[in-house]
């Protein structure tokens, strides 16, 4: 399931209808609605959504530009709202999924559920309150000593790809992104010592 969903849609009827569906099915803990991206700054502050549902015209800028402009995570999902029968594959391909306004409630929910289970398995399993695993602690310790991903991989005899995914999990679990912030976390939790870091 998703934590935070944003609906960017001109029509109030559609906006509110979608919100009601999302809340009734307990699909996520928070839905933020806005008419267009102009309201983003005020309504979102620094919170980051994991899913954006938006109209075709709002998507005209393209995913990458929107992600960059609003500092979104790389794996943010985009779902399009299509008003009428539409068959332009290249437009629909802009999105990770599209919902038609003629879709039934069940169809909408099952589309979103499918999207969430396809892409969200990693995210769902590492709910943010969990503690770091021993392996993640090892990776963190080495990163704090200033080692690059590749060097950490060599030391622990794992692939660099695995290091990256450990790193992602560490950030997600702790909620801390900067390396120096993680250093504070490591010391507070007795994962590393001040002396370790100076090495």
């Amino acid at each position: 399931m998703f934590k935070k969903i944003v609906v960017v849609e001109k029509s109030k009827i559609i906006r509110e209808g979608l919100t009601t569906i999302l809340y009734t099915h307990e699909f996520c803990s928070k839905v933020v609605c806005m008419e267009d991206f102009g309201e983003w700054n005020v309504l979102m502050r620094n919170t980051v959504p994991d899913l954006i549902i938006l109209g075709l015209e709002t998507m005209s800028e393209g995913k990458e530009k929107i992600k960059y402009k609003y500092k979104l995570a790389d794996d943010t999902l985009f779902v399009g709202i299509v008003y009428q029968y539409y068959n332009h594959r290249e437009v629909i391909d802009l999105f990770d999924e599209v919902i038609f306004i003629t879709d039934s409630e069940d169809t909408i929910i099952s589309k979103l559920k499918k999207l969430s289970s396809n892409t969200n398995n990693g995210r769902a399993s590492s709910s943010s309150s969990e503690k770091l695993t021993d392996r993640e602690k090892d990776v963190l310790k080495l990163l704090l000593r200033g080692l690059a991903n590749k060097e950490v991989a060599d030391q622990l005899s794992i692939s660099p790809h695995t290091v990256v995914s450990h790193r992602k999990n560490i950030i997600e679990k702790t909620g801390i992104k900067s390396l120096s912030g993680l250093a504070v976390y490591a010391i507070l939790n007795n994962i590393a010592d001040l002396e370790d870091l100076k090495q």
Partner: protein
């Protein structure tokens, strides 16, 4: 003006940074702008940014840019001279009430943040803002630089977010320092202020200056083609 402030208290920041004194009775925004010799469009755009009613990428005319710069510079001074030192003081007090090792690491984390922020402001105050002032008076730059600024404009809010998480989640519960709440409140305040600040830079200053650069270029080309 007074109604706007009562409905949207955040707009107080604009008055504070532009050195506008309270006690203006029922004067209109326009009257205040005239009295303080402010460009009306710049003043209104700043107020709207804090009120939350301004759209992304608003391009103001050239005449509005000096007052945008004035606001941004004054905010930098406020962050560097008041807000951040105040938080530093509270963090030091807070650290005195927790195990020394932990206190030490939190202080040095915040010091690193201060360095980062200063570097960020330094680039703007000593490099980009003077460039803008220069093309306002003498529109013959060696190179147009606003896109470069747009690309290099770094995010200085990440570490704040990290620090909040550390204070909220990871300093053990049994540490009952009254300063924890104080530090947190101040951090939220600073973060909010910085969000507005970068919004004004990214969505008012950058598009307005880019428009001016474009006008300069068009004009130069016209002169060239006449020759």
């Amino acid at each position: 003006m007074s109604e706007l402030i009562i409905d949207h208290p955040n707009t107080i920041t604009v008055l504070e940074r532009m050195n506008i004194a309270f006690g203006f009775g029922d004067q209109h925004i326009q009257e205040i702008a005239e009295r303080y010799n402010l460009n009306l469009h710049a003043f209104v755009a700043l107020l709207q940014s804090f009120e939350g009613s301004i759209k992304h990428d608003t391009r103001l005319e050239k005449e509005a840019i000096p007052d945008l710069l004035r606001f941004l510079k004054s905010s930098h001074g406020h962050f560097k001279g008041k807000q951040i030192p105040r938080i530093k003081k509270l963090i030091v007090l807070f650290s005195e009430n927790i195990p020394q090792k932990h206190g030490q690491v939190i202080i040095s984390f915040f010091d690193e943040y201060i360095r980062e922020v200063e570097e960020h402001f330094h680039y703007e105050d000593d490099d980009i803002f003077p460039y803008i002032t220069e093309i306002l008076t003498d529109p013959r730059p060696a190179k147009f630089r606003m896109s470069e600024f747009e690309k290099n404009h770094t995010d200085i809010e990440q570490k704040l977010l990290d620090l909040k998480n550390i204070l909220i989640k990871y300093i053990p519960e049994d540490v009952s320092s009254p300063y924890r709440t104080k530090v947190l409140k101040r951090l939220f305040e600073l973060e909010e202020d910085l969000t507005y600040h970068s919004f004004i830079e990214d969505h008012l200053l950058v598009p307005s200056v880019k428009k001016m650069e474009c006008d300069i270029q068009n004009q130069n080309e016209r002169i060239c083609s006449k020759k």
